[in-house]
């Protein structure tokens, strides 16, 4: 597959990372609770990215709503898009209702399984459940098959097969990067799954640690190895207004402000205009 696996590039800022993400990329993004790289999201909007295809692992929120509202997105694959406690994602909702973007509806473990297939280099993964949902008919990349080891379970054992998913780019924020190009994601292991499955992976971080975190037995289990990391850039409070566990919480007031403003196209534009360009 010819994937890069040698050196992590240290970029100057989030802007430089946004410049590495081509228009039309399939962009693997985490949920709002799992450190979206908000600084890069805003940089993508400033560089007027176009035709991005977003993959929610397994759901999306503010990051997707901003990119959709700014006209950067052609397609969304996700199990859901919402602002959680702050309600519906207004730009997503309008874009789907007006058919401005294509939506590939999914269900959480199908997305995890599709990425896990790519992690393992196999073409698909089987998944229980899902059969009986209208989602199956919508997805040409999902198939219902007979369990080849079915005798154990009886005569018929249909099971869903989910095609491998390989994002062009994984993008998220992390607490630390180190001089060796590793990043620390802690318990947010879906970030590792996205990174493992993607062709390239860009990460913003709060602080740079000296040395190599893989040399520290306590930190190592939360480390994503530099083998998966194409480039990093420092972005202090880079997940804001979302959270970095143990460092800063969700800015609930800002989330409510966004949810209110983005109800209209004009309100959304007004919200964006408050950000320095």
């Amino acid at each position: 597959m010819n994937l890069p696996s040698n050196q992590t590039a240290f970029h100057e800022n989030a802007e430089k990372i946004a410049a590495q993400i081509p228009d039309g990329s399939l962009l693997g993004l985490p949920p709002d609770y799992s450190m979206p790289a908000m600084a890069v999201v805003h940089a993508l909007i400033r560089r007027r990215a176009k035709g991005l295809r977003l993959l929610g692992v397994p759901v999306l929120g503010l990051s997707a709503d901003l990119l959709i509202g700014a006209g950067c997105v052609a397609e969304v694959e996700s199990s859901a898009v919402s602002l959680g406690e702050a309600g519906l994602a207004p730009r997503f909702t309008e874009a789907v209702e007006k058919k401005l973007i294509k939506i590939k509806d999914a269900t959480c473990p199908a997305i995890h399984s599709g990425l896990q297939a790519t992690e393992k280099g196999v073409p698909f993964m089987p998944l229980r459940g899902v059969i009986g949902s209208d989602l199956v008919a919508l997805r040409s990349d999902w198939r219902v098959s007979e369990n080849p080891f079915g005798a154990k379970y009886g005569e018929q054992d249909p099971i869903l097969l989910v095609s491998a998913i390989q994002p062009d780019v994984a993008l998220f924020h992390a607490r630390w990067a180190d001089e060796a190009g590793n990043v620390w994601i802690g318990r947010r292991k879906e970030l590792a799954t996205i990174a493992h499955a993607s062709r390239r992976c860009f990460v913003t971080y709060e602080e740079l640690r000296p040395g190599d975190m893989l040399a520290d037995e306590l930190l190592a289990p939360g480390v994503l190895s530099s083998v998966y990391v194409s480039g990093v850039a420092r972005a202090e409070r880079g997940a804001w207004p979302l959270s970095v566990a143990g460092l800063y919480g969700v800015d609930d007031a800002q989330m409510r402000r966004y949810a209110n403003a983005a109800r209209t196209r004009e309100g959304f534009q007004g919200y964006l205009n408050e950000f320095p360009s």
């Binding site: 397994p58 859901a80 959480c108 879906e190």
Partner: protein
Amino acid sequence: MSSRVAGPYCAEELLACAIARLATDAGHIAVGAASPIPATAAYLLKAKNPRLRVSLLHKREANPFSEGSRELFDLAGQGRIDVFFLGGAQIDGEANINLVQAEGKRFPGSFGSAFMYPVIPRTILFREEHSRRVLVPKVEFISARGNPVALLTGKALFSWQKDRRRFRLESVHPGQTESGIRALTGFDYDVAPGCAETQAPSTDELDLIRTRVKPEIAANYPEFAARIWP
């Protein structure tokens, strides 16, 4: 709408107790996002039975998961979770749920429901709104289908008859009538011979909720807790 009903308890406490009665034998209850009433029910059961495991998906402190968001689904796929809760923008008479789209409106999406509903042994359908808009003859989109334990709304409790694939009205909440429920329900259903009023919370249950359960809920659903227990 006021959350208060007749008597010294509020509607949310009644619903939490009704949910708890549907899950008394559970060993592991998982609660998804934005579900303060099911969470109240789960912690009420835990107050009575410390051996019960409660996994609150979005617990702010000491979250029970360390393998990322796929861990909940992996646990469910293995049969390590007994009880889970699902709702729907629409729920139909065959217990299908729709979280995607209805009447030209787009909703967030199916989340993990398509997997969880058929995989979890005891799914409880819960939706506070009880109206013909929500409880429809046929959902516009089947996000998930399965065999629930029951459907609890803000006005009534239905059991699910797996063999007949039909709901059965088991009880109506205080202030509701059988004919009123019929008028507010868009799908057809059976009525249990002994259909009566939903059992009110006991003084013991209310005491546990307001002493032992409240701090857990307030830590994760502060706005809900402030509204219910001012």
